[in-house]
């Protein structure tokens, strides 16, 4: 796809011609974005056991669709849960946290963004962003347990004999969301079993699960403060039921952007890769000038 078709028009001029890759290895899926002279390529696969192998597969896929090779790439930024052990051979690279990357990615998709909900496989995060530059102003994570995360929804879907993708759509059919009081995955499982025994509909249970998760996110923003524009990123952002219930619970509309926000982290990583190259070039220029002056 063309960069100008997905990136916020106010940020287009910030994208350089440098060929870079951002790789976001999450706990459930690996995502990657390649920026190349006006074009943006994406790749997504389930995270495997070995993060490096997942990263290599993502890169291979990007090269297949772009026709490029590793020699063409100037910089790679790795992010996400699996970022720690990534290696990219001779290509310059660095590791940045997913919080910084999601903020930058969301900023390039909508430069008015001030708040981000990121619900990933193993944690959820509320992030406040500076709309001037896409930098993180403040963040908070919920990682006390799997509750309020994609893993929680995945488990719930399994209990309701649905796929994760179906869970959100099913919840939209609810007439009265079930009251899921427990925020512990293990105890919530018992609650869902009890609700099933009472012949509660799958849709109502599914909606209840989403409401419970959204309540958790709301508490994060109660502490952090929430300002529009709000962008929803992470693996769960494609869940239509979650989007709806988040908007209702938070009382804010989630901004529509032109790229699937599951790629926000990888896009942010790619943007940061370009910024790293720009900083390095500026440093070299400063050093050259000061050497000349001396």
């Amino acid at each position: 796809m063309k960069i100008r078709d997905v990136i916020d028009s106010r940020r287009i001029s910030d994208i350089t011609s440098d060929r870079v890759i951002g790789i976001d290895i999450g706990s459930r899926t690996g995502k990657a974005v390649l920026l190349d002279s006006g074009k943006l390529y994406t790749a997504i696969i389930p995270s495997g056991v070995h993060n490096q192998e997942t990263a290599d597969k993502l890169v291979k896929h990007l090269f297949k669709i772009s026709g490029l090779t590793l020699d063409d790439i100037a910089y790679i930024v790795g992010t996400g849960y699996g970022r720690v052990a990534l290696e990219f051979g001779e290509v310059d690279n660095k590791i940045v946290t997913e919080i910084t990357c999601h903020a930058m990615g969301a900023h390039f998709l909508n430069s008015n963004v001030r708040s981000i909900v990121d619900i990933g496989g193993q944690d959820s995060k509320a992030i406040r962003v500076d709309p001037q530059n896409g930098k993180v102003v403040e963040f908070i994570m919920n990682d006390k347990c799997a509750a309020g995360t994609g893993r929680f929804l995945e488990k719930a879907a399994h209990m309701l004999d649905l796929t994760t993708e179906e869970l959100g759509d099913e919840s939209l059919k609810a007439t009265k969301p079930s009251d899921i009081s427990s925020q512990c995955v293990v105890f919530a499982e018992s609650e869902v079993i009890s609700l099933k025994a009472k012949n509660e509909t799958r849709a109502n249970i599914a909606a209840g699960i989403h409401v419970a998760t959204a309540r958790r996110v709301k508490n994060l923003f109660n502490r952090l403060g929430l300002e529009a524009d709000l962008v929803f990123t992470g693996g769960v952002s494609n869940n239509s039921g979650m989007r709806k219930v988040l908007e209702e619970t938070l009382g804010y509309k989630i901004s529509e952007v032109k790229l699937n926000t599951i790629y926000a982290g990888a896009l942010g990583a790619a943007v940061l890769a370009q910024k790293s190259l720009a900083s390095r070039a500026a440093l070299v220029e400063r050093e050259t000038l000061s050497a000349q002056a001396a």
């Binding site: 946290t97 919080i99 910084t100 963040f139 994570m141 990682d143």
Partner: protein, 402 residues
């Protein structure tokens, strides 16, 4: 050693030594830290008097003045025994939400209960309910436990009320002396010697911390915490060796040219909290470019030398950042933030420590209103590498400040 291969607290100390290969002084401090508990236990087996205690504050000069080695029980956590938490939870039935430091300590004592070694425990204040429970349990396991009391100084307590607190605490100190030596009479000459030693070391540490502002990465985060939060408190059981290491460090820092590039790259941070045993947190701070330059535990005041030494011990408690109310420590944190021109504040406590969690929340709100970013971390005494999420928080926090 590759940081990814680190499996235990001992590995972190070893790795930190490797990183500090350029500094004999830091290497020595880390060696002292690693050998603290094993050497003290061996010394006890060889006939040297030693006790388990908090290993910080007023009690340390008194214990040394009583010809006894103070052995900080919280430092047992680094012995990297994964079994100890399970002992506390399963054998002693401590609730899972109990402070991880206490559970770790209890498990470690359990492993020692039927062996020769240090069999005496000095508690200090009954305010910490989990430790009270631990001490009661250890009494039943055959340890000789003594728990003195401390009355905290509320904000605004001064004049006659303060003098009553001092009098009360002096009596408590004599009670501890009696437990230590069999007599409530304290050898004031020895105690004065220890107070002078402590003040001398506090002064040296102040100089080191001031020099670190010019050399922010010379002593990295873990080594800083070891040197200040542990070493300065109890000298790792070896006062002369610890002082020699500080002297060497002063010499190294004073003779080192300032590296402007390093100075510009540093992200000054203030650490407010205990030490914990999740040493990977410190490594994460270093890797992200953060420099722990300010600390809540900074040597704030010295022991008075113009009053009798026992009174000086008591007054040190009530005049310092640990006098009991969160506001005392908060004031010190605020001074540190200003002094080091900190970009952020790391609030650290142990999982299950209700005291610290309340303080942290109050401090967070106070500094948040002043526009100082902070991060609230809960650490464990469970050994091994910290969770990915904890590392993400730290790294993202430092990235946010850069």
């Amino acid at each position: 050693m590759n940081p990814l291969d680190i499996q235990s607290q001992r590995d972190y100390i070893e790795y930190s030594k490797q990183v500090h290969g350029y500094s004999k002084a830091v290497g020595k401090i880390l060696d002292l830290s690693a050998s603290y508990i094993p050497d003290a236990e061996q010394a006890s087996l060889n006939g040297k008097k030693a006790i388990w205690c908090g290993g910080y504050g007023w009690e340390v000069p008194l214990v040394y003045a009583s010809d006894t080695v103070p052995v900080a029980f919280s430092e047992m956590g680094r012995l990297s025994d994964r079994e100890v938490m399970l002992i506390a939870e399963d054998y002693y039935q401590f609730p899972i939400e109990t402070c991880s430091m206490v559970k770790c300590t209890v498990g470690q004592w359990h492993l020692r209960k039927d062996k020769a070694g240090i069999k005496r425990i000095l508690g200090n204040s009954s305010a910490c309910e989990p430790y009270n429970l631990a001490w009661e349990v250890m009494k039943h396991e055959g340890f000789d436990v003594y728990n003195n009391d401390v009355v905290y100084r509320g904000p605004g307590v001064d004049g006659a009320r303060l003098e009553k607190l001092v009098d009360f605490f002096i009596k408590e100190i004599h009670g501890v002396a009696e437990w230590l030596t069999g007599s409530s009479k304290i050898d004031e000459e020895k105690l004065s010697f220890e107070l002078k030693r402590k003040n001398r070391l506090l002064d040296k540490m102040r100089k080191i911390l001031a020099l670190r502002l010019k050399h922010p990465f010379y002593v990295r985060s873990l080594a800083t915490i070891q040197m200040l939060n542990i070493g300065l408190n109890n000298y790792f059981g070896k006062p002369e060796e610890y002082e020699a290491a500080l002297d060497l460090l002063l010499e190294e820092l004073e003779n080192r040219p300032v590296n402007q590039e390093e100075l510009d790259a540093a992200i000054p941070l203030v650490w407010a909290g205990g030490t914990g045993q999740e040493f990977g947190i410190y490594e994460a701070i270093d890797q992200a470019g953060g420099a722990l330059l300010g600390l809540r535990s900074v040597p704030f005041k010295s022991y008075r030398e113009d009053v009798p030494p026992v009174e000086a011990l008591a007054r040190f408690v009530y005049d310092n950042q640990g006098a009991g109310a969160g506001v005392y420590a908060r004031n010190v944190i605020e001074l540190e933030l200003e002094k080091v021109k900190a970009k952020g504040l790391i609030l650290y406590g142990y999982i299950g420590c209700s005291f610290a969690s309340v303080d942290r929340e109050m401090w967070r709100n106070y500094f948040h209103k002043k526009g100082i970013p902070s991060i609230n971390l809960e650490g464990s005494f469970q050994t091994g590498a910290p969770s990915g999420q904890v590392l993400t928080r730290i790294k993202a926090f430092v990235e946010m400040l850069s």
